[in-house]
Amino acid sequence: MQKSIALGADHDINTDLLRPLCETGIGWYSIATISGLVLLAAVGAFGYQLYRGIGVWGLNRPVMWAFDITNFVFWIGISHAGTLISAILRVTGAEWRRPVTRCAEAITVFALLIGAMFPIVHLGRPWLFYWVAPLPNGRGLWPNYRSPLVWDFFAINTYLLGSIIYLYIPLIPDLALVRDRSKGLKRKIYGMLSLGWWGTQRQWQRLEKAVQVMAVIIIPVAVSVHTIVSWDFAMAIQPMWHSTMFGPYFVAGAIFSGIAALILAMAVLRKVLHLERYLKPVHFNNLGLLLLTMSLIWFYFTFAEYLTTWYGNEPAEKVIFQQKVSGPFSPMFWTMVTLCFVIPVVVLGFKRSRTIKGTVIASAGIVVGMWLERFLIIVPTLSHPRMPFNWGSYRPTWVEVTLLTGTFGYFVLLYCLFVKVFPIVAVWEYKEGLATRPAEVKAAAAHGD
């Protein structure tokens, strides 16, 4: 493999892409501060929850899960951005992926960190979360391997570990690049992080190999994770939870919301970090097409799910169906359908509106819509148990709302810190792309402009 790009261009790209690491603008500070404060509020809310008890949430009998598990599923879903874009595109060798991959992989890790928090946060006694882990203990007790929550524990940890590795491996050459351009303590740290990368032929070969292997491994892991998350519901016997379709339905929904989140993240990065040269309209166009596909798939699943429920006419399910479609949850339900299907299809279906702005608008709607989708899976079922005497309702408290907004603050903050420390566009991959398929890239660039 030849690295024969003109030194000047190479230098330019390096400087360009590493600029966020050296220069810190007012934009970064304000975003980091705001997101940090939002996160801090959520931490405070969690502290209050720990101090008072989980009763500070709006949960009740029969609605024992609501925002907590909605957030959990939502963020685990968002985390699927990294896998698909990066791994699938890598495996299939889609060239346009190059500036996008790291951005996506970072989303995976951050969203997972946030999502995986919720099963702990939502516990009645969060300080005992480690009992779910198979740790040897004086009581001689083990977790219950029949419980989907234990499967979750393993699946999410596997996925998190895999995602971190998958984020890290392609980061190594760039870390070395940063190391080479810095000095002092910073150089030492980056030196340690880059694991002695000197860019030898053997190292490049091994890197490529590792990335490829990880890409192949991470796809089934990602699919299994959200399938297992869906089984939290599907394994239960509650009406409109006990569905065989939930695995693929959730995976599709996860990828759907993940791409939307990725588009939003890219748009923000593009603006804030001035990456217009790298994140081009073509990327948004391509991702927009993917999003359109996922929207159609999502709608297909949703339609199939609701049609079979309606046609089957099973009394317990019918109640929940009605609650969603025409009952008190119907405003949320139809908002969801509009945000996840109507708007995306209209906006993304036409090339003219599949612009950066268009995809961002569609994506923002989808992120909200997909949060609603998870909420609508959880709450109507729980609030309408089989015996109507026990029907209830649910209203969130400020603690839950603060925790939800806090997750976004956390996400943004993590991203801010990440772009401060690591190049958000994979420098070597980008350059590799320029080297191997300059024509294609040029064509793409021309198309985008």
Binding site: N137, G138, R139, G140
Partner: protein, 171 residues
């Protein structure tokens, strides 16, 4: 600033760790009792009273609690025996005032374990007191000799074929 944070964090960790250690230590320590009662003297001493455990801990075979005897029981004998001892005089003072010495409990299980240990079935199954309480009869001061962890209880239950159903103890 980061250094301060680091130290702060370390400080919390150290405090927490030492807290746990202290917690564990306090579990096994022998608390200082208001009157230096000597089990050996009452139970084992060759020319002593050679009492049965249930002579004083009289409810062990019928109740959840073995119970510590009240001063009336003590004074039953010590009205006339060894009245010259300052410890006995102190005991007599308590008895005169109709008070009980503030004995410190040596064995207990944390309330949050939701555990309902009952002496009675253990006595019924002829478990020796010393199985759980150690060689009290040989000791001059009582200290906690077993930690009463759940695994320890369960092991014994398993060995003896007693039920290990959670509902036997926890409810």
């Amino acid at each position: 600033m980061p250094r301060l944070l680091l130290f702060g964090f370390l400080g919390v960790v150290v405090c927490a760790a030492s807290g746990f250690v202290l917690l564990e230590l306090s579990n096994t320590s022998a608390p200082a009792q208001p009157i230096a009662f000597d089990h050996w003297q009452h139970v084992t001493k060759p020319d002593g009273a050679q009492l049965e455990c249930t002579f004083c801990h009289e409810h062990a075979d019928k109740s959840a609690h073995a119970t510590i005897p009240n001063t009336d029981t003590c004074m039953g004998c010590h009205q006339s025996i060894k009245t010259e001892s300052p410890e006995i005089q102190e005991l007599a003072d308590y008895a005169d005032r109709h008070q009980q010495p503030p004995w410190k409990r040596v064995y207990w299980i944390e309330a949050e374990a939701n555990e309902f240990f009952t002496h009675k079935p253990h006595i019924r199954a002829s478990i020796e007191c010393e199985t759980c309480h150690g060689a009290v009869s040989q000791s001059h001061t009582v200290k906690r000799e077993t930690n009463l962890t759940m695994g320890w209880c369960v092991d014994c239950h398993k060995q003896r074929g007693a039920s290990v159903d959670c509902y036997v103890c926890h409810r």
